[in-house]
């Protein structure tokens, strides 16, 4: 560590396809001790499980190597440790390929430690009685379609990986804030009875886990909420003191802003009861949390409170949920909306005549009601784009939605234009269950990859 009194954590991504160059900039100019990449959305790991089934050497975040290639030289030069969940469904090969890349780049033997054990699919199969959190139904009903089950592990196991002194720590599914909590626990020696400090660490992780969303992303409203140089948003970092207080900031000279407004929006983002935010590391209470502007683009956060962690892990269960078929086509000028509505009816009649069945049909008038609904209450726009999306268990039925929509160019109302290529998506949905910690902890492994 560069500063014995303070630890600086930088964040390099908020999802698998996030910008890469701001992470490099942060590593070069941010004076950070750790660079943390969060890249796993809810169902990403389910997708990567399917990839791994097809190719046992894949199944990690597809852009892992592109990211590593960009950041490793500077991270190694400045001794910045990398912590990431880009292992997804295959941390072993993520580490192996990262090390191979480092050698090819002339960076030498880069030490990698991985965390595995989050894959609990086999445990789920023998525990069909577990209750699905969303529906209250037993898990048994999902098991025939299940493609993955991954527990959100906590900071303790990442901490163990950091104890191996590896330059790069790669995990699969862990709770997003835990990626940040772990370096704090490791550097400051915090333990699982210091709940307020863990709460502070979790609040810090929560603020950083969506990366630029705390430094000016997802915020600008021109003329109302200005964000300077949004094209060159700086990714954020946090300075954490041993007492648990922390500051959120960004590299000087980058675009964006870090202030009370951006920090408040991000603190409440994806949080329900502010008294009870459950992670594998603690139960965070932000009801008394305080924020202060401490200079330009720098916010101090204090008084997060914590209660003891629960004895369960949350598990995301990925399952096949049929197909979605989609088609789009546009209309403009006089009577555009009426034409779009007529077109919608034509497509639905055609699909019915062909004997296809859909369990759910969605009709969007883009430019009018596709985001906030309620078409009847809206003013008619000059141009409108019809979007039809339908759910079905049949791939053929899903394909027909787009084909029938595009056929309106010739067979539909006048002026139907710009029909989209038919889209068929295989739906990989997720539900959640809770599983006892003790069942999962037995299978967690910390492994130094040497190949």
């Amino acid at each position: 560590m560069k500063n014995p009194n303070s630890l600086r954590l930088g964040v390099g991504s908020s999802f698998a396809d996030d910008r890469i160059s701001p992470a490099v900039e942060l590593a070069k100019k941010g004076g950070i001790d750790y660079l943390i990449f969060e890249c796993l959305a809810e169902r990403t790991i389910a997708r990567e499980n399917q990839t791994k089934l097809k190719n046992p050497e894949k199944g990690y975040t597809p852009r892992l190597l592109e990211r590593m290639q960009a950041v490793m030289p500077v991270c190694i030069e400045k001794n910045i440790r990398i912590v990431t969940n880009m292992g997804a469904a295959n941390s072993v090969y993520a580490a192996r390929d990262t090390r191979r890349l480092a050698k090819e780049m002339g960076l030498g033997d880069v030490s990698c430690t991985i965390v595995t054990g989050d894959d609990v699919a086999d445990l789920l199969k023998v525990n069909p009685q577990l209750e699905i959190m969303e529906s209250g139904e037993p898990l048994e009903s999902l098991l025939p379609q299940m493609v993955s089950g991954n527990a959100y592990l906590g900071a303790d196991v990442i901490c163990k990986a950091l104890e191996t002194d590896a330059q790069v720590v790669i995990t699969g599914r862990v709770a997003d804030p835990s990626l940040f909590v772990a370096p704090m626990m490791y550097e400051w020696g915090w333990s699982y009875d210091d709940w307020n400090k863990l709460a502070s660490a979790t609040a810090c992780g929560h603020l950083l886990e969506c990366c630029a969303q705390v430094s000016g992303g997802c915020f600008a409203d021109p003329g109302k909420k200005e964000v300077h140089d949004l094209a060159r948003l700086g990714f954020p970092f946090a300075d954490i003191h041993n007492n648990g207080n922390f500051w959120v900031s960004k590299v000087e000279g980058t675009g964006g802003r870090v202030d009370l407004a951006t920090c408040k929006e991000q603190l409440i983002y994806e949080l329900h009861d502010p008294y009870t935010y459950i992670t594998p590391d603690c139960i965070l209470d932000i009801t008394n949390l305080e924020m202060y502007q401490d200079g330009v683009d720098r916010v101090r956060i204090e008084k997060a409170k914590g209660r003891a962690r629960t004895d369960t892990y949350k598990v995301t269960v990925g399952y096949d949920d049929g197909y979605m078929g989609e088609g789009q086509i546009s209309f403009a000028g006089p009577n555009a909306v009426a034409k779009a509505k007529y077109a919608s009816q034509v497509v639905q009649d055609r699909l019915k005549d062909r004997g296809f069945q859909y369990s759910e049909v969605r009709v969007d008038l883009i430019g009018m009601s596709s985001l906030h609904g309620n078409a009847d209450a809206r003013i008619e726009p000059y141009e409108v784009r019809l979007r039809l999306a339908m759910r079905t268990s049949s791939k053929t039925a899903a394909q027909a939605v787009g084909f029938e929509t595009r056929a309106l160019h010739v067979n539909g109302p006048s002026g139907a234009s710009g029909g989209s290529d038919p889209v068929v998506k295989e739906i990989l949905a997720v539900q959640s269950v809770l599983i006892s910690r003790s069942l999962v902890d037995k299978q967690v492994q910390i492994q130094r990859i040497t190949s």
Binding site: Y269, L271, L371, H372, A429
Partner: protein, 101 residues
């Protein structure tokens, strides 16, 4: 009539089929109005064409913010929704469009 937009900013997040939308007051006066007038009933009316499930309002007085947790709002959740905006990110602007006295 005043729009919530003139008093506050906010952000929408998703968890499963539930949307949460923050409403963060720009100043003390705005906070006082929002705290009194932006009730669950008012929000439920504005979102009635999207969901009629439970809406819970949490207050964060130290941050002068409200957090609305709106169940059943996301067409089955981001992973299976047929909507373009499966995350419901645009719902923050629907919240800010609400008019109050």
């Amino acid at each position: 009539m005043t729009r919530v937009y003139d008093l506050a900013h906010g952000r929408a997040g998703d968890k499963g089929n539930t949307s949460n939308i923050s409403v963060i007051a720009y100043n003390d006066a705005a906070w006082e109005i929002l705290q009194k007038q932006l009730t669950v009933d008012v929000v439920a009316k504005a979102f009635s064409h999207i969901t009629t499930d439970t809406i819970t309002r949490y207050e964060l007085p130290k941050l002068q913010a409200l957090n609305f947790v709106i169940e059943g709002a996301l067409g089955g959740g981001v992973t299976r929704s047929l909507a373009q905006d499966a995350h419901g990110k645009s719902f923050s602007s629907l919240m800010l469009s609400i008019e109050i006295n």
